[in-house]
């Protein structure tokens, strides 16, 4: 199938409130983690996450009913900023989230447990609990038409890009905005902590002493366009979405397949979709959460698909693990790395784990034509995308 031009991108993360001022931090692999101060985590130990130091109102440039939506608005506004939108062009949306409105719902439920009379506030407090409510509000704000709201844990954001690419290829819309957004919430922090998945020293992807991940918050948006829309808008494509692969491990609810079988299957499907061989890939932006099992399984998958893998990196130490946003947020920086000709450093990986049999690349300049982005999630859910230079 034909590659789909990307004509707009936006991102908000711990590395910066806009894409432009965050890219250098991501390439350098700087430590984006800081102490969580916005709410009490209830954990005995202070926790470092990749939080964003801005209010919901600042992010959304106006009122927003919850933080996930504020983050999404911030990213979409950037992505659409320079794109005129004539009314004859149909614009779709694929919205990815896992926490949706839980940041507000969990506080409401806490109050309700103490005092049942708080039930009278349910209409206002829960109006934006569901993923579809956030998607609908994005449509209202930005004049979008048909949409899907999806939730596949930490792979969701990357699936949103693949689905948006297909919506263009199938002729369902002229422009399609893929968005992934998740705010830090008590539910996710306590859930990951309960599963012993958080590294108290901050995540160290692919490192010998890696001991878990670090959570983060953020959002990203990618605008994909049909060839017809590109001409109509006289747009200059930034890059091309070339292939999407999706698979399930069908192995375990939280542990990855030890040989990375599902991850390998998603990468092979994405390469097949892009009509490219593994040898044509110049850079892989790995999912690489920093947990011992996940990183080991992903390296096994890379070796199964690529043999000796091309240069690869992780962005989690800088951006945190932003759950449903992570796949698309890191895809945005994978695309800027592609166009800038930069292989980013892997923050937190001071001593690569020799047992993995492959180590992430140091930051360096390189002529890049094709980049692969991976994202994997709970439930054994796998997504892989191939992006190419125009």
């Amino acid at each position: 199938m034909a590659a789909v031009p990307i004509i707009g991108m936006g991102a908000v993360s711990a590395a910066g409130l806009t894409l432009d001022n965050a890219a250098a931090a991501v390439y350098d692999g700087i430590d984006g983690l800081s102490l969580v101060t916005r709410f009490e985590t209830g954990l005995k130990q202070a926790l470092r996450c990749a939080g964003i130091d801005a209010s919901d109102k600042e992010l959304a440039d106006g009122p927003a009913p919850n933080r996930t939506l504020a983050l999404a608005v911030c990213a979409v506004k950037q992505a659409l900023a320079s794109i005129p939108r004539p009314s004859q062009l149909k614009t779709g949306l694929v919205f990815a989230t896992t926490v949706a409105g839980i940041t507000r719902s969990e506080r409401f439920y806490e109050r309700l447990l103490k005092d049942q009379t708080h039930a009278v506030n349910a209409a206002a407090e829960l109006a934006f609990h569901e993923p579809t409510a956030l998607a609908g509000d994005l449509c209202r704000r930005f004049g979008l038409h048909e949409f899907h709201a999806i939730s596949t844990a930490c792979s969701t954001g990357l699936h949103s890009v693949g689905m948006a690419m297909r919506m263009i290829q199938r002729g369902r819309c002229d422009l399609c905005v893929a968005v992934g957004a998740d705010a830090l919430s008590l539910l996710t922090i306590r859930g990951f902590a309960g599963l012993l998945l958080l590294d108290p020293f901050g995540c160290r992807p692919f490192a010998q002493n890696r001991a878990g991940t670090s959570l983060g918050e953020g959002a990203a948006a990618i605008v994909l366009a049909s060839e017809h829309a590109v001409k109509e808008l006289a747009a200059s494509p930034i890059a091309l979405a070339r292939g999407w692969g999706a698979s399930a491990d069908a192995h375990h609810m939280t542990a990855p397949h030890p040989q990375g079988a599902g991850a390998a299957s998603a990468m092979r499907a994405a390469l097949r979709d892009a009509a490219l061989s593994p040898g044509s890939v110049d850079l892989i932006v790995a999912h690489s959460t920093g947990t011992p099992d996940n990183d080991a399984a992903e390296i096994k998958a890379l070796q199964a698909v690529f043999g000796n893998p091309p240069p690869f990196c992780s962005m989690k130490r800088t951006l945190g693990h932003t759950l449903a946003a992570s796949g698309i947020l890191e895809a945005v920086f994978a695309i800027t790395a592609l166009t800038d000709g930069t292989i980013p450093a892997t923050g937190g990986c001071d001593i690569p784990d020799p047992a993995l049999g492959a180590a992430p690349s140091p930051r360096r300049r390189a002529a890049l034509r094709t980049v692969v982005k991976n994202a994997f999630g709970f439930g054994g859910n796998n997504a892989s995308m191939v992006f190419g230079k125009v």
Partner: protein, 266 residues
């Protein structure tokens, strides 16, 4: 492209089937969330009626495992401890992931969370898959939990049908194929489409007329559903009725301010 055909379907109505729990495998009975058990049973029934094995799974759910989300949060707030199992299950796609494990389905696995429009969203989403990803198993499911009884009277009037006593808790499963099958029921869906402040009835009519020009907006063809599983029950009813002709199943999400339609015909 050839319209998808429904080659198998099944439903589960817990309130009307006291013995449904007998169909739950022993290994799932004690600790697995109720909504996972419902999903397992309805999928087992669906697969038992066809010789085909699904390559992909699409789940359609408004809230996912809502009781597990509530239980996890209550644990944190009441005792400082939330169960890991509840947290894992609280993730919207946990059902689809569990089904992939239980039934060895290693292809694309997506969960659509478009409120009442979720089933239409999932059916429409099959259009985004490749031929090699079919047949697709679609599961529409939502659970009714006690907390909703407390909250529903305080929700906006248009949200009450989705969350209140009026809807029946259910699960529905459909196997969707792209193979030529003249006898099979065909299905297509449009939406969710954002409707803003346009009245839902008017917007649904326009959408149905756009999808099936000429007759889509005929009142005698249309039935409304207020939940994904409710839409699934209507779809299953049409399939098993053996009737010729077509039916339009319409849904509206007050929270998303969006509507969707499913068009099914034989």
């Amino acid at each position: 492209m050839r319209p998808p055909a429904i080659i198998a379907s099944a439903i589960l109505r817990p309130a009307a089937e006291a013995s449904w729990t007998d169909e739950v495998p022993q290994t799932m009975r004690r600790r697995d969330p109720r909504i996972w058990r419902m999903a397992h049973v309805v999928v087992s029934r669906c697969l038992a009626s066809t010789g085909e094995h699904p390559k992909s799974i699409f789940a359609a759910t408004a809230f996912g495992a809502l009781e597990e989300t509530r239980a996890f949060l209550e644990g944190i707030f009441a005792s400082g401890f939330g169960s890991a199992k509840s947290f894992i299950a609280s993730v919207h796609n946990s059902m689809a992931g569990k089904l992939a494990v239980d039934f060895s389905i290693a292809g694309p696995n997506l969960t659509f969370c478009d409120g009442p429009n979720s089933l239409a969203s999932a059916i429409g989403g099959t259009d985004l898959l490749d031929e090699c990803d079919f047949p697709v198993l679609i599961v529409a499911i939502d659970e009714k939990i006690e907390l909703l009884r407390t909250l529903t009277p305080h929700l906006s009037p248009e949200c009450r049908p989705l969350l209140g006593d009026a809807w029946e808790e259910a699960a529905a499963a459909f196997m969707i194929s792209r193979k030529e099958d003249a006898a099979a029921v065909k299905v297509q869906a449009t939406g969710p489409r954002f409707i803003g402040d346009v009245p839902a009835a008017h917007a649904i009519g326009s959408l149905a007329a756009e999808m099936v020009p000429g007759i889509g907006n005929s009142p005698e063809l249309r039935t409304d559903a207020s939940t994904p599983s409710g839409a699934g029950l209507l779809l299953h009813e049409f399939i098993t009725s053996g009737a010729n002709g077509r039916r339009i199943i319409a849904t509206h999400s007050p929270a998303g301010r969006a509507c969707a339609v499913i068009d099914v015909w034989r």
